[in-house]
Symmetry: C3
Subunit: 414 residues, 3 copies
């Protein structure tokens, strides 16, 4: 739980029927998400980061072969973060709906009652220490009645969770390789994956987070943000893949034994990305390279493309920053969020996907479940929900307040 | 020494005749007062914080049943802080007078001579390593001759230390409870007590710092900045108290066994503060709530008042910030200094105390001993001493320089 | 290696024929040079600090009795710093030339080939993991052909390393004394020495870094930036010295047994600096004193000069900041770089040395070897090389780009 990478969840889950995890959106800001800048910890202090819980819902749904539970859901302030904020009014409801929107079958709260004694006495629950309902209990009850409303509208069939059109590949051995030899002090862990996940979601896209053994044939767009090692089973798939593929920096740079691939990186990806990484560079916070339309940060591969590779953006010193070869894209390094959104939008359009004409507001996210389309606003401030003409909102309003949830029913053909 | 809370001073001192402590105003900035922002360490680098030594004088005078010594007084730069500044010219004299003004019977300096060898050789003393007098010796001698002057003026009777009209209750078990479960990383320790002490002193008030067993019947104003646990002996007193009482956040929230009080906080204080704390929230540095006329920071209790409770200020989201019920005031959270001064001024006026029409300048503090009224300027820059018309200054000037001491004789009826 | 002070290099090297060290200009920014502000780590991320490698070349040349090797030269990004930047194009060549300009007889690179496996696989070498030449190999080969060109021009005799006119005394026991009792958290280590070395080099001066046993009779200017302890052998030399001498703060403050000198500091230097240090003060980052034309920072001695001592600059509170007595100068404390350059320029002119009319640009440095005059630009941006009229550049251009090297042949009489 909490962007936890100490074992290979996909390997462990092979004979599991279901995956459950513990969702503490506020507490995670201080613990699991240390890679965020302090400004983000301030910005999302009361709502949680708009992508971190969603990322894990999408991850554990994949780990559970499509079946997802939330075993512990934060129901108020916790006691174990450095500072313990009060969730925004409505946020327990929003987190619950968010879990359901991402496919959860069950959301269980921690805890039933705030204990009046012991080490966890400052950890709130659905009920107060005196047994009276706290805000969490009221909001959980609200979700219950709203679920009843939605089921009355269309029935359970409309809530079947379908596969997304976008897959993001998370490979635990690749995470470990980045952790063992980070080469830049802020490069290990989940931060790179989350950058790509966030950017795709700012485009309004739903994302499945999958392991490298997963069948990718049905996806339109496949993201490989940090696939240092390409397992053989995935290499075989790539040959027949029809999706548009986006590879981030360091992809294909390591063998299974954590050596540098030969020929040089992207090693086994060279059939699709005919180029070589001549050198790599990590950049400390505050060190940037200008890139057409934005800036590079944290990391860059120095790439020499072969003939036939298109270069769409370059670093200020001429090295390619964004390259493509047919359906394959390569990002040489990490770039600022707005630029990454642009680059992913291009790949998504090439994949035939419809993306938001403007990136969603910073705190707004969408997620579809069956015919139900949900929108969540993590704030701050009001956000306009992109509900299409002629659709009635069954939850929420078109101008959604922070902590708000909106939902509407899509047409059967959507 | 140095805001030291590892044992219960009041319990320990029951059969002591006198309490002595070690006063290192510059060194403490780097060690005991880590809760101060770096800007404060810069601002008071050469004078010491205007309240930290005074706070401890007032504390140890209470611990010693009215009898206070300073066993070690900083006499120049020390060697054990991260950086070791030179006291402002006159500061050794000012610290000495400050101790006497707060009731000290004796000030002993550490050390007689700066040792020319060994681990402490960079710790200055009254005399230099070569045995010649250093600045500290000159300033100590100056105090000696000034004491002679004052005693000539009015005699020792005028220097009898009387009780203050304001009591601030310091309860060591409450400090430990806050330390064991701080809930916000910057909430443990002496910082909250010092906020209230400073604000009262900015109003020109003298303060006694007392334990919860102390008889409070003679005080006009009683401050409970952070009384997490209300000992039974104090509960009994409160019933018959005629003082105006100000309770800070978390008051009455814990039983003697460190459990949450039931009914909910303020638990045993409910007879006087008919309200309940529904939830609590700690705010990381940089996170604030607007409050009428200022801002809330670090901590807030979410308080539901019962009928008859007046709400004088609210948080931006409507929760009460400052409430009162008869002679009892409750502050739901910590607020910026100017606002706290306003709130305390109101309580002090209700208690019939005369407060400064404007808060004292940031570095100026007053302290009365018997008929002698002292003023100390910790700087920076000149400060106007509020000496009443017709009183002659026997020490210092009306425009007091940084490091300066002023004194005048009050009328017998004052 | 890397500003390493854990043993006395001069004592250890008494019977060595040569001294070799390991030069990692980019890696050192994160490790050996922690005393630099983060802004410097950003500024010199791709070129290395313009003085840190040079300082060590000059140090180890002295340690090796004039004979210097570089055993490991960084040849590309390393893997052991917090972040591992790519050297600027040309930087491996520039570092190599810099070593030669400072007297190196040999530069050996670490490593021959970047290992494709194991713990150091991200540590680049002259050759890539696939055995093909990397940038380092190309730049090393370029130096080889440039050396051939220079030798053709004038022959090896013109490359004989001569002594500089400026000596900076580095005494390891003094470093240890500062480390054992730093008195200010940022005062230990090599930072003070580097301040003086940099300032002298901004004046275009070459510097020999010598131990206290070294014969100083041939130098025009002797710098004692941080000679806490003055060994007897050096005291004897000073009596007959004809050089102008500049003593930094704390000089002569400690006996060989790490006690305070008596009479008070500058103790054994009093015959030449007739003054006494009455007290010392360390200032935390952000605390400054105005000094005529600049500001004091980190440390100051409070100096009482005797008659006949000239005071050239004072702190805002009147204490002398820069004093002189005949050929001897005393700096009471550390000051900002521009002011230190001014003060050293005055001493250098008094010593009959020619200094740059304007301080060299921040990233430009000069170094002479025999009749060859070299210039190195560490950037950022172009820098004008101060090549005299009528001299032809044999390497580089008059407007030297970042990472550039220029060289010209001086007249035999220069």
């Amino acid at each position: 739980m909490g962007l936890f990478g100490d074992f290979d969840h996909h390997a462990m889950a092979q004979d599991l029927s279901i995956a459950a995890w513990d969702n503490y959106p506020l507490g995670f800001l201080d613990t699991a998400a240390r890679f965020l800048p302090e400004s983000a910890r301030l910005q999302w202090a009361r709502s949680g980061h708009p992508d971190i819980s969603a990322f894990q819902h999408d991850l554990y749904r994949g780990v559970g072969h499509g079946r997802l539970w939330v075993m512990e859901q934060q129901a108020g302030p916790v006691n174990w973060a450095d500072w313990n904020a009060l969730p925004l009014p409505g946020m327990v409801r929003a987190w619950t709906w968010e879990a359901f929107a991402h496919g959860a079958e069950l959301v269980s709260y921690f805890r039933w009652r705030q204990l009046p004694f012991g080490q966890e006495q400052m950890h709130s629950g659905l009920n107060r220490p005196d047994g009276m309902p706290d805000v969490g209990a009221e909001e959980a009850a609200q979700v219950k009645s709203e679920i009843d409303l939605l089921l009355r509208e269309e029935g359970e069939d409309a809530l079947h969770t379908q596969a997304a059109r976008v897959a993001l590949v998370l490979d635990y051995p690749s995470l470990w390789m980045a952790q063992i030899q980070p080469q830049g002090a802020d490069m290990a862990g989940f931060g790179v994956l989350l950058r790509y996940y966030s950017a795709a979601r700012r485009l309004g896209l739903d994302v499945d987070i999958v392991g490298p053994q997963q069948d990718l044939s049905a996806y339109a767009l496949v993201l490989l943000p940090s696939l240092l090692h390409v397992p053989e089973v995935l290499q075989h798939q790539l040959a027949s893949l029809t999706a548009v593929v986006v590879a981030g920096p360091r992809c294909g740079s390591k063998t299974a034994e954590l050596s540098i691939t030969q020929p040089l990186p992207p090693g086994p990806l060279r059939p699709w990305l005919p180029m070589q990484v001549r050198a790599v560079e990590s950049m400390r916070p505050g060190r940037h390279y200008a890139v057409d339309g934005g800036q590079g940060e944290q990391w860059r591969d120095l790439i020499e493309p072969q003939a036939g590779v298109a270069v769409h953006a370059r670093y200020e010193d001429g090295w390619p920053a964004w390259l493509s070869h047919g359906r394959w894209h390569s990002h040489a390094g990490l770039v600022n969020e707005a630029l990454l959104i642009d680059w992913l939008a291009e790949a998504a359009r090439q994949a035939g996907l419809t993306v938001a004409p403007q990136p969603l507001p910073e705190g707004l996210r969408l997620r579809r479940r069956g015919r139900w389309q949900f929108a969540f606003n993590h704030g701050p401030g009001l956000a306009a929900v992109p509900v299409p003409e002629g659709h009635k909102l069954l939850l929420g309003e078109r101008l959604l307040p922070a902590g708000g949830v909106a939902a509407w029913l899509l047409n059967p053909k959507d």
